[in-house]
Symmetry: C2
Subunit: 462 residues, 2 copies
């Protein structure tokens, strides 16, 4: 590992202690020698890290006494404030680079399809219908649970999955992320432990840090979480919640096996763990795979999802399906924090698009197209020594191992200077053990010249 | 005061202690005799209240030892869970009754205009344009700050107010409520004191309780907060934040005077208080009134607003204008908790409607119409002995004093049985001293028969 990477790892560890409040403002940092031993780096690396954090104002030195966390005027800043090009490659880095990327950028690191691959024709038909809707639909807040027609449509899908959740047990939300946020507000307190997969979707980490929870990563296998380590984590950390994607897991594209699903649910029951199953990639599956919510029957599993990946991220809408008492409490929380659910106009557009006769055909064609892209991109990347960890059954992600010694974070920095946004492995990793991995979006590879640029970035050349 | 009301007041006080965590799960409640003295009620009233809370599972009795807060399985339930007709009249009561009201209900208690009073013609034109928009607008997440055209339009408005906030200092949000929620996440920790007006918008209370802050009410005068009591509260509680509407205050309709605005800002500076100025009713003003954000120039005042009252609550969009460093931190928080801002489609519809040539004329006509409604409703209510506290310069609220001895909460209960949703004074009041007040929405009075029903409800008759 290069010196720069080691320093970054120490900086990140300190930041994490501050944002998780393991270190409070004004508190003394670990000694240089002690922290060097903990992090398994040389004392000079810790000195470098502390110096850099000092120059950023995150910590300050007191002569002869050591380093202290700065008294921030913001009690809770999730990260430092600064121009986005200079910022640390943290879980926000990929989000902000991808969301704010100019039209000239290529974004293999982003988490969505190109706009022209989306069901825009169905959406335009839905918009034309909307122009003829009642005044009330166009201007009122809508009911607290969200549009009934969309909840009914979702409930029919749940019935096919044998998930016992009627329309009253479904709450529409402004987005899938907001769905998880509401659940965190209801079920978590600062300091609670939460299990996530290692690797997992980077924004789970950002969100859970915003709730000041303690993240515990469980290594992910091609068939789901490592059950032995999962149980050890349950015993050691007594987590309240586990957040996962059972199907087409982000970033790996893996799908949980029936045996692991069954084991995970048994362990959850034995240790009183609540599971949030984020089903956001379900529409990309070629056929149905196991679901924790189906096995559990809506007791300790909460199902969330959204339409942002398959239908539109501009017309935002997510949902939560859960026990009736939780739904009631979540409604209050959504009223308090957003005065109700998603835009009724958004829910109507989603409903109309999903009900449009052409939508199913569009999705079939999209799945075929993505299957082609996965093979092609996989083969081309393999030519550079970048090898997929597994070949997913569906979706647009390839989670890849870089050639020996290559550092994904460095590669992402180099690529950004060439207007390419990458998603380096460690932004997905609580343990920060994924420096040799990269997530690629097979639908966002741009032209063939990208492989040349990736090859140069891999070698650290700009 | 009737026995039922006294019991409800004690129940409410206990609930408040639990939700604010003044009483933790498992903790012992005050003794019956002691709490009776504190609340200035008879011990039997406290017994009644404790019995009722016991039957609801909120507390439980231990033989010979007293009453204890139940160990909730939900660490944070803002209120009890239950069918909405039975629920306590708390700050959520009006929200949920109004949002979920059927088409047969009359809603003088709600906080919005009838759908047919909104600029639907302009909105329909905007929707037709949207059908011809780029694929990217229809399907992509959009940038982290939200649509640039809408931020530019807002910035031009700020320039007219002499508020120095360019488009980069503006963050679009999913709603006005979510704007305040993000600010609370950034600036507040559990236990922090927050100043609100007494009375204030009930959802400020719900939101601030969701953040587990300590609410401090400052009595509101027809010209703004009582400055003497404001300063006392600053000294005593050292609040971090003050949330207010400077213009057409909710629920009173009052507007801050230049002198009080100046004093409040000086006190804020002296005591390092941050002010959130919610400008949501600005569009209803006949002419511009003083603003804290204008006096302050975006140093310690944060401006928030939304288009839900004037344009559409279905097409939701709010905004925050604040110091650049706060905006940067708020962007991260919005990415973490909602993966970006409002729907780009919503922002585009808002922008197109605001830019539509007919919108200004629509608002002029609406202001005239509301002025007529305010006089007419005021006169009719006065005929029942219900007198406006002041006659607002604009907007749709009348904050009214009920005849001597009438209890607004009881009246709201009686009216609900007649399919009328009212907004009783105490849901707006941190001190719970507004039992004799009621907020009426002059645009939602239904037909003339409502005055008859109000008269009967006033007398406790169904």
């Amino acid at each position: 590992m290069k010196q720069g990477t080691r320093t970054a790892r120490v900086i990140d560890a300190v930041r994490r202690k501050i944002t998780s409040r393991a270190l409070e403002p004004g508190e003394k940092l670990p000694s240089i020698r002690g922290f060097a031993a903990t992090m398994n780096v040389s004392p000079s690396t810790v000195v470098d890290a502390y110096d850099r954090l000092t120059s950023e104002g995150v910590i300050h030195a007191r002569r002869g006494s050591g380093f202290y966390v700065a008294d921030s005027t913001l009690p809770f800043a999730v990260t430092e404030v600064g121009p986005s090009l200079d910022r640390e490659i943290d879980p926000f880095w990929v989000s902000r680079q991808s969301l704010d990327a100019g039209p000239d950028m290529v974004k293999p690191g982003c988490g969505w399809l190109p706009a022209e691959w989306m069901p825009n024709a169905s959406m335009r038909r839905a918009i034309r219908q909307l122009g003829r809707a009642d005044d009330a639909l166009l201007s009122d807040y809508g009911s607290t649970r969200g549009a009934l027609n969309l909840r009914r449509l979702l409930a029919r899908g749940f019935a096919e999955e044998a998930i016992p959740a009627g329309p009253d047990q479904i709450l529409l939300t402004a987005s899938g992320t907001q769905a998880i946020d509401l659940i965190c507000r209801l079920l978590l307190r600062p300091g609670d432990a939460v299990l996530v997969d290692d690797p997992c979707y980077f924004n789970f980490q950002a969100l859970l840090r915003a709730h000041q929870t303690q993240l515990v990563g469980v290594p992910f296998t091609p068939n789901g979480p490592d059950t032995e380590l999962f149980e050890q984590a349950l015993i050691k950390h007594k987590p309240r919640l586990y957040i996962t994607n059972s199907a087409l897991h982000n970033p790996t594209g893996a799908t949980i096996s029936p045996q692991i699903a069954h084991k995970v649910l048994n362990m959850a029951t034995a240790h009183d763990l609540i599971v949030v199953e984020d089903d956001i990639f379900a529409g990309f599956e070629p056929d149905r795979s196991p679901r924790l919510a189906s096995l559990d029957g809506m007791d300790r599993v909460i199902r969330i999802g959204s339409f942002s990946k398959t239908l539109s991220a501009s017309v935002r809408c997510g949902y939560i399906a859960a026990r009736p008492d939780w739904i009631e409490a979540l409604i209050d929380l959504q009223v308090a924090t957003n005065f109700g659910g998603p835009s009724p106009v958004a829910a109507e557009l989603i409903y109309a698009t999903l009900s449009d006769g052409h939508y199913r055909k569009h999705m079939e064609a999209l799945r075929r197209r993505l299957a082609g892209c996965r093979s092609e991109t996989g083969a081309r990347l393999a030519g550079l020594g970048i090898t997929p960890w597994l070949m997913p059954r569906g979706g647009f992600y390839l989670w890849c191992q870089l050639p020996d010694g290559a550092d994904a974070t460095e590669m992402a920095r180099v690529a950004l200077a060439k207007n390419i946004v990458l998603a380096p492995g460690n932004v997905f990793s609580v343990s920060q053990a994924m420096a040799g991995f990269m997530r690629f979006n097979v639908s966002q590879m741009g032209g063939p010249e990208i492989y040349d640029i990736l090859n140069r970035a891999l070698k650290g050349k700009t």
